[in-house]
């Protein structure tokens, strides 16, 4: 049984790989457009951080956090979100696929539907956002007054990977939700784009109820807030026990399991209603 699951996962990843390769080649059919768009995407995502720079041109600290600290939050949130967006960014199109009937085509192929949707319209230009986030993150790492060692470095890495997983789950859940509500793709933006915007700022800025909500209901706080507070030597505004700061991978895993179940239920619902 376990072998079957592993084999299926390996097959899914391979299939993902070759569908993505098709999309990359497809994009390269318009090489000039692609080059322009990658440059433009890189240059313009910079504007996103500029708003925060402007804020700090007026103040020394925001919610008690300095610019390098906020940059650290921004960088981790952006890279985690960017990874999820790059690898799984197409789930918001499910409603459209259901409406125009192309969902059926995916169900007629011997590759898991989840994989096909994930690989759909894979766009390398999304690397623009990731590299911009990575640059802000790198800059903050040099500015921060943190005692860097193997442990803390590993923590940043684990944080980004689990953060990417959590955001990825949000994308897939948002997509699965559209099996029931085809026109509701925008709800997902509140959690994806809204989520990454939220996590770019320190938790101290927000009302406690909002922080509680993104800790216990939609566990976005585990993308970067919780582990980052530990790294930056800050207190958690909710006063949760210390081990919570290390819980991100476990939370990510739990998210994946729940997402898998919801996705299956969504697909089953689609197959019974066909609309």
């Amino acid at each position: 049984m376990a072998e079957g699951v592993l084999a299926r996962a390996a097959w899914g990843l391979r299939a993902y790989g070759f569908i993505v390769a098709m999309w990359v080649r497809s994009t390269m059919a318009y090489r000039a457009s692609f080059a322009i768009m990658l440059a433009v995407s890189f240059a313009t995502t910079f504007l996103d951080f500029a708003a925060i720079m402007i804020m700090f041109s007026h103040v020394e600290a925001l919610g008690g956090f300095s610019l390098p600290e906020v940059a650290f939050l921004y960088g981790t949130s952006s890279v985690a979100f960017g990874l999820a967006d790059l690898f799984l960014g197409q789930f918001e199109r499910i409603g459209g696929r259901v409406r125009d009937g192309t969902m059926d085509l995916l169900l007629m192929r011997p590759v898991p539907v989840l994989v096909q949707v994930a690989a759909d319209r894979f766009a390398l230009r999304r690397l623009g956002r990731i590299s911009q986030g990575a640059m802000v993150l790198t800059w903050s790492l040099f500015q921060l007054d943190v005692d860097w060692n193997v442990g803390s470095a590993l923590m940043v890495l684990v944080m980004i990977v689990s953060g990417g997983c959590i955001f990825g789950c949000v994308f897939v859940l948002g997509g699965a939700f559209q099996f029931w509500a085809q026109d509701a793709s925008e709800v997902q933006n509140a959690f994806t784009y809204g989520g990454t915007t939220l996590l770019q700022y320190p938790p101290t800025v927000f009302g406690k109820d909002l922080v509680r909500g993104v800790t216990f209901v939609v566990p976005l706080a585990f993308v970067n807030w919780m582990p980052a507070l530990r790294l930056l030597g800050r207190d958690d505004p909710l006063g949760l026990p210390g081990w919570v700061d290390f819980a991100s991978p476990a939370v990510a895993l739990l998210c994946c399991v729940i997402t898998g179940l919801v996705w299956r239920a969504g697909l089953r619902a689609y197959r019974s209603t066909g609309s």
Binding site: M37, S41, L47, A50, I54, L62, Y201
Partner: protein
Amino acid sequence: MRLPRLYFAVAGSGFRRYATYRMATAAGVFTNTIFGFILAYTFIALWNERPQLGGYDQSQALTFVWIGQALLASAALMGGGFQDEFQERIRTGDVAIDLYRPIDLQMWWLASDLGRAAFHLVGRGVVPLVVGAFAFELALPGSLLVWALFLLSVFLGVVVSFALRYLFALCGFWLLDASGLGALSMLLSLFFSGMMLPLNVFPGALGEIVRWLPWAATLQVPADVLLGVRQGGAGIAGAFGFQSVWALVLLGCGRLLQKVATRRVVVQGG
């Protein structure tokens, strides 16, 4: 008088088309409201440190946030509206068919987008503003005249926003894969309209420049009309003048670019 009637009908159908997507409207209202809360908290933190930043007091800053959320869909500050559809018609070449119709392509899309904007103003604008007004102390005017001037300013802002998106969409004639153009137009609009941060907070020369760019006409100017920052005969005339000049200039550019693009279509044979 037949043509204006036609464009009114086009606008009406634009309105009705978006009105049928109830679920999408509800989803959008939800998302606007969430974003409103996120931004409102960051603005509170900022204005706590620096009261009177950019000439706004805290309640004006918060009002700005919720006006932004209310206008986000209507003024298409994140792009969209007719843009995707128009771009798709350019990509597939269907636009060649449109060019043979006895109507003006730009005016036709403008009318349709104005219809959409009117629906989005009501369907997606009112609820976030009301929620914001309940959750925070906002500086909303009591005078009906100010609200009327605000609506007029929103109308001009939508025209400017349309003209900008039309220019971006036309670039699709030259760039075959125009999906990235949408992203570019969205980011420029979010940043330079004031959606991320009011333009009067932008420092120094940058601040001077952004306040004169066309995107300022889409959110910053209508917001300042409602907040009473631009008031009195001269203030209002300045606001409307700024918006109208940009609207005319950009619509003119759109016509020129359309002419060049049309020649291209004819040469390519569709």
